[in-house]
Symmetry: C2
Subunit: 470 residues, 2 copies
């Protein structure tokens, strides 16, 4: 007997499969048939974990897989791998699927979930598609890179004694989150690492003054970090293999080239179906994650734009933690419950070796673009009481609205135990707190955890004083 309704999910990673699993929890197979399609070979994996797998911190690929296709099927979800949705007929409530062998057919739906993710930015430069140039967006990408690195080691070891001792060279293009994480991965693998960034700072998710601290720290870690580096070409050798990266200024030899230039929403299917897209190309949804103006289509994960609660504007924030929340919300709503995703405050945290980098809220430029006037302060403190072993430097920048004193943003560059302090500000942003209110926050204190004034409190005091004067 056919189920009363069919839910079709396009995209088998965090958002899509969370939606499927949550809907299944709420409605049994007799009520709701769930078909999910994934064009790749893996489902429900942590793409964020790929740099740590490449770097050797994570030994097994499968450790990154939260739930295999078999497990999903065991939960009553008809997950079809290596199957792509090539056309969406929204009026006819059906998608055209292309299976692993290339055969196509239409599948009707009552409820559709678009969770098509994002694709890496790949500028059309000579040599960019050569062998030896890798992205790290999917598990397939990661596997391909690792296989190549292991072959390289074999080649090196095979070419006579001593040859294996020459330090191999990795060039990472882009110094955003993925770029710095991949830099760490290659440092851990013993590579000489060069990071090329076209902006005048690494981590454009930080203000320039905080980005400068990251730059200094990366150089101190032995990672050659070249700013203002406009890549013009990937140089290839006689076998058509990447052997260097050329910028307007110089050429950087490379045994391996990794692209970390960010991603853009993968919404070609949606665009051709006439669904509403935002400035970034991401799908636009309502608070229940339903595509705006559509009764029967939801969208979540890296293919949507989300509301930034601080700026009041939609933006593209491709992060696994949001994708999982979206999936839960979509699944709850399709499952007959009720849930919303109110928006983000722009929190992100990352590390490169022992340097921790975090931000939430708005940068100065974002605040200005949103029409806000603000005061900014930067303080330096330590991650533990100054006298406690392992106390390390932490820089905190805090941005507060003029007059109202409302917190607008926080940025952290520091060492062990620095990064997650961003959560204090993230919650304060959700709550619309002023920096004056933040000076009184009752935060956890003991010498191994914090100075008696937590660095965030020190920043709040300085920001509150700036607001009073400003």
């Amino acid at each position: 007997m056919a189920a009363a309704e069919r839910m079709v999910v396009v995209g088998g990673d965090a958002a899509g499969m969370s939606a499927a699993a949550q809907a299944r929890r709420l409605r049994g197979p007799e009520e709701l048939e769930i078909v999910a399609v994934e064009r790749g070979r893996f489902s429900s994996y942590s793409a964020c974990g790929i740099p740590y797998w490449v770097g050797g911190d994570v030994a097994e690929r499968d450790a990154l897989i939260a739930r295999s296709p078999q497990e999903h099927r065991a939960h009553g979800i008809d997950l079809r791998m290596r199957t792509e949705a090539v056309e969406l007929d929204a009026a006819g409530r059906r998608v055209r699927l292309r299976g692993p062998e290339g055969a196509e057919h239409w599948l009707g739906y009552d409820r559709l979930v678009l969770a098509t993710g994002a694709v890496p930015v790949r500028p059309p430069l000579p040599g960019i598609d050569a062998e030896g140039v890798y992205g790290v967006q999917t598990l397939e990408d990661g596997q391909e890179l690792l296989d190549a690195l292991e072959q390289r080691v074999d080649r090196a070891h095979g070419s006579g004694p001593g040859a294996g001792e020459q330090q191999p060279r990795a060039v990472v293009v882009g110094a955003g989150y993925i770029g710095v994480e991949m830099a760490e991965a290659f440092v851990r693998r013993g590579y000489a690492v060069t990071v090329l960034e076209k902006a005048e700072q690494p981590m454009s998710t930080l203000d320039p003054d905080m980005g400068r601290l990251v730059h200094e720290a990366m150089c101190a870690l032995g990672i050659e970090t070249v700013l203002g580096a406009a890549v013009t070409e990937v140089r290839t050798d006689g076998q058509g293999r990447a052997c260097g990266v050329v910028t307007e200024e110089a050429e950087y030899p490379a045994d391996v080239v990794v692209l970390g230039l960010g991603v853009r929403p993968e919404t070609e299917l949606a665009r051709r179906a006439g669904l509403p897209l935002g400035e970034s190309g991401g799908l636009l949804t309502d608070l229940a994650m339903r595509v705006r103006g559509r009764e029967d289509i939801w969208a979540g994960g890296d293919c949507v734009e989300v509301l930034n609660l601080v700026s009041g504007r939609d933006q593209h924030v491709p992060l696994g933690t949001h994708a999982n929340k979206h999936g839960q919300v979509i699944g709850a709503n399709i499952g007959g419950g009720y849930a919303t995703f109110p928006g983000v405050v722009g929190t992100a945290v990352s590390k490169v070796c022992d340097l921790e980098i975090a931000r939430t809220g708005l940068l100065e430029a974002q605040a200005a673009a949103a029409g806000l006037q603000f005061e900014s302060v930067v303080i330096e403190s330590t991650t533990r009481a100054g006298y406690y072993p392992g106390a390390r430097p932490i820089h905190v920048k805090m941005i507060a609205e003029r007059r109202s004193g409302r917190l607008l943003g926080l940025q952290i560059v520091g060492h062990e135990n620095a990064g997650k302090r961003v959560d204090i500000a993230a919650v304060a942003l959700h709550a619309g707190m002023t920096v004056e209110q933040m000076t009184a926050l009752d935060l956890g204190y003991a010498p191994p955890f914090s100075p008696v004034w937590d660095p965030v409190l020190v920043a709040a005091r300085k920001a509150a004083a700036a607001v009073r004067k400003g």
Copy 2:
């Protein structure tokens, strides 16, 4: 020329000297004379650091001293050491001081700050005052204990080959914050450690179920932790030196005995002067930290009660982080500025070896006593993404009000990187958030920092579900 006004500060540690320093920043010596008296030999030190100094993590006593008497004097504060305020004549606006040599005199004030701190609880048991029984409340206490430990080593080394190899034994009475921190200190010094606790759990600042996890972990660390242990006597040897602790059930031999039974407000001076005291014996103040009903007396630090913003009741919370805030507020107000201390939410964090323990808000019993009905949930997760090296277990308990779903409290027992997550809930408590709202918090995520669902989010989801059903 005499200054226009005189500020007198009683107590030369965090609250008192922060008040003095802040007032001095705002008003110069020609406007405000500042006299501070401290009965001990040290000023402005971190009592919270003493366990780490005893344990050897902090090598130098002076590392715990934020500002010496000389430095305070260089900032125009007339700090008089080993000087006690023995009587307060509030009507006459004067205090009677007893100097280091015992001479007494009256000193008038325009503004008085009481920052007399707390005194350790010391039950009147036989032997409790014997040599070899130590408190760890003041730097003097810590010095005395360390001197004794070093003498003991000398004795042991002096008594022939092999004698130094016998593992020395420490008995810690009380398994609260100080007790567990001192247990760690003695573990680090190579002692066999026994902790005696009269309650049925260690850390009575946690609910029993979470306390049980601490108990298990302490035992796993090799710390003999005896619950329901009512101490009846400290046994002394022929020289009147403590050599064991006797409970109703057993006797525990000891080379050293440390008392960690908590503290009570030191407010004898205030009580005799008729100032208002709360149930705990702590001074009662208004939001500007002015003693209730008094125009010219302020109080802060471990000698006051503070408002718990969750229960709406005053309570005694002796913590250096609050004392510093109180001092800032008092100094700002006396200095002609404006500041308030709105209250606490009951946050505390501690560790014993690699176990981290934290809490904020109300325990179940406290919530019930405040007339609140609630739902409680406990979840287990990891401190980092499960596949990331160093991911360690973390248990989170969340308590939410019935019907409203308002967060009431959070408790954490976990390992590295677990404890400071309590700040997320602390800020949410300040903001009056519901657990449903908390499920959408945009917290920092990357595999080295958190699972894709931060443990606090997992707890919030479970708590929100419990509230919906409850």
